[in-house]
């Protein structure tokens, strides 16, 4: 199981900026190891974010997203105390969900 995500959500006016740092290898499937064998692709394919349990954002990633991916987005109408959840699912079927409170 992967390490937890770091999520920071900060409210400014009626919006909240959410920054997420995920912990994932994001193997592109292009890289070769020391023996010259291709390292199989292993990357986050799907990400989604919720505000108080309601889905506000879904996205899909290709292998070209960097290792330990960073994602920033802005939620409208979020205020301090709201719960922001982020979920990802990778190409091996692993998923992880973490939650943070808007401050």
């Amino acid at each position: 199981m992967a390490d937890p995500m770091r999520i920071r959500a900060q409210a400014a006016g009626d919006k909240a900026t959410v920054r997420v740092l995920m912990s994932h290898e994001m193997e592109s499937g292009q890289r070769k190891d020391a023996a010259g064998n291709t390292v199989p692709a292993w990357f986050i394919q799907e990400v989604s974010a919720t505000l108080n349990g309601k889905v506000v954002l879904t996205g899909e990633w290709g292998p070209a997203v960097s290792k330990n991916p960073f994602l920033q987005f802005t939620i409208k109408g979020a205020k301090a105390g709201d719960k922001v959840g982020v979920t990802w699912k990778d190409s091996k079927g692993d998923t992880r969900t973490d939650e943070a409170t808007v401050s």
Partner: protein, 152 residues
């Protein structure tokens, strides 16, 4: 006067109709769009997503460094002020697969996303906004990479 059996039957029909039009809340992940992520060029990606030929627009912005020292971590931002945008894409033209990320915009998020991307070599990067009726608008920017991020 409706009896219980009729009510059950008609509600089943209504549920079926809703499912048919896709009006049921889509809580789970949609199927991963493999075709779009395997497409080699910007045009192929848009075709795989069912969007038309893109036009350059001032209302779409792509942000990134002019020169990226490390191609493994290139911060890119895509944003748009166009109303009715459903999807925002980030693409790197000369990567093995052009599409980096695709976000679905709902009413409760701003069409403004930042992600870090890998780049194999210096290339044009694109932000594409696709509206609900399949029109695509793009902005592009050249990013020079001094050290590649895809193997090597």
């Amino acid at each position: 006067m409706k009896n219980r059996r009729d009510v059950l039957k008609s509600s089943a029909i209504v549920a079926g109709l809703l499912a048919g039009t896709g009006l049921f809340p889509q809580y789970a992940f949609a199927a991963y769009n493999k075709g779009a992520f395997e497409a080699k060029t910007v045009a192929e990606v848009l075709k795989a997503l069912g969007a038309g030929a893109p036009t350059e627009s001032k209302d779409v912005t792509i942000g990134g460094p002019d020169i990226a020292e490390n191609g493994a971590v290139v911060p890119l931002t895509a944003s748009t002020t166009i109303a009715g945008v459903k999807q925002v894409l980030i693409l790197v033209e000369k990567n093995p697969a052009a599409l980096v990320a695709r976000y679905e915009v709902t009413d409760s998020v701003e069409a403004n996303f930042a992600t870090r991307s890998k780049m194999g070599q210096s290339s044009d990067v694109y932000a594409v906004a696709i509206t609900g009726d399949g029109k695509a608008f793009f902005a592009k920017k050249e990013v020079k990479v001094t050290l590649g991020g895809c193997g090597g």
